[in-house]
Subunit: 214 residues, 2 copies
DNA sequence: AATCTATTGTGAAGAATTTAACAAAATGCT
DNA sequence: AGCATTTTGTTAAATTCTTCACAATAGATT
């Protein structure tokens, strides 16, 4: 367990820091102050310092932060120094899109298997991975070390699948199904509810246009 | 403009309320108390009441909330009573997946056009929509009333496209490119940064496993 | 080497969000 | 019809999150 519990608000900001630090690294910039990063990212310098200090101070007074060091430390905090094998369940367009997304591989997320119940898709390949029938899932999970299951199937299928996944060693579910999954303690779920996101956009459009058309 | 500014934290919870209310409606349940909804959704009843009260009280004391009425009111708040035309820019797997997702249509998001710079894709169809070359985008936006642009292209392309979109009437961008977009005041952006989401998952896996393997 | 400058780390203030508590109001039972 | 029960709307308290402010410290300059 963590020394002190870090809030998910802070964790949620780390990937963005990492992205900007990666850009700086590519531009061969060696150091950066919280002030500079602040104006680059449009957040307060204070928040940046507070965020980093949750993990015990990566900077030096009078100097700032070393870009590469900071990048590496945040990577470690996010667990990107370990690699994670994943399977995709549901070989529709979304599943295929995620399977083809090479950037995940670079971060240590290794695409190991893909499953679908549609017989027409069985045997097709997404990158080097062959789509297998759902019946093979359980055995596959047992014979390989898979941490993450990516669920890109409709919600009806998703709920019933959770037990199978968890019983066969899945530690985390990246859930694209539009439903809340009920998992045992210790199994991580990260939801990507696309329609929720679209509704937020819709709200913000309406809000801005109110007064004009209402 | 809104009477009183509603926090994005509240807005972010509305789609989830809507989902649960939709389920209740389908089960022909007429009324629900904040207490019942609370145990269904795993949030506090107090938060539910506070959230709804931001918009001025949808319930009745001693009775609770009428499911259908509440559903309709939240729909309106989210702007789902208006329909929105959208185009998808980038006809890769992700773009196709979003184009094929019929649930958006049911919510009033109408798929009107799709664009890609890859000549091989031009002329293919996603549902009834033909993929057009990027050169046609500007004219298309001017000749049709498109509110939302969905960006499913790499970040390098995305940044340069913003001006074109905004100059031709786009009010909102649903951004899947892994970059922060700089838009004028009044243009809404909703980011879906998939790799950020995956990193959060990675963090939570590591955190839970710490102590065992570290 | 001494001084000046930049910039972090951090305690405290301020803001926002969430939860608790309860009076007011409507329902439904007898 | 009256009373007990339910459950909201709402005020207040507690908690969490963000920003401010500055002393401490390291680097840069002369």
């Amino acid at each position: 367990m963590q020394e002190k519990e870090i809030s998910q608000a802070v964790i949620g900001r780390l990937p963005r820091y990492l992205r900007y630090l990666g850009d700086l690294k590519e531009r061969n910039i060696e150091r950066i102050s919280s002030q500079e990063l602040s104006s680059l990212m449009n957040v307060t310098a204070s928040q940046i310092r507070q965020d980093f200090n949750n993990f015990g101070g990566f900077g030096q007074q009078g100097y700032g932060y070393n870009v590469e060091y900071l990048y590496d430390e945040i990577s470690k905090i996010l667990g990107l120094n370990h690699s994670h094998n994943f399977v995709i369940i549901g070989a529709g367009n979304l599943g295929k899109a995620l399977g083809n997304y090479l950037n995940f591989e670079r971060r240590g997320f290794i695409f190991k298997g893909m499953f679908d119940k549609n017989p027409e898709l069985i045997g097709q390949k997404v990158r080097d991975v062959e789509i297998k029938p759902m019946e093979d899932l359980e055995v596959f999970l047992r014979e390989n070390t898979i941490d993450i299951a990516v669920l890109t199937i409709p919600k009806t299928g998703a709920v019933g699948l959770v037990d199978t996944l968890v019983d066969n060693g899945i530690k985390a579910i990246w859930n694209f199904a539009h439903v809340d999954l009920d998992v045992p303690e210790g199994v991580q779920v990260e939801n990507v509810h696309l329609s929720d996101s679209l509704m937020k956009l819709s709200y913000n459009i309406s809000r801005y246009n109110d007064g004009k058309e209402n």
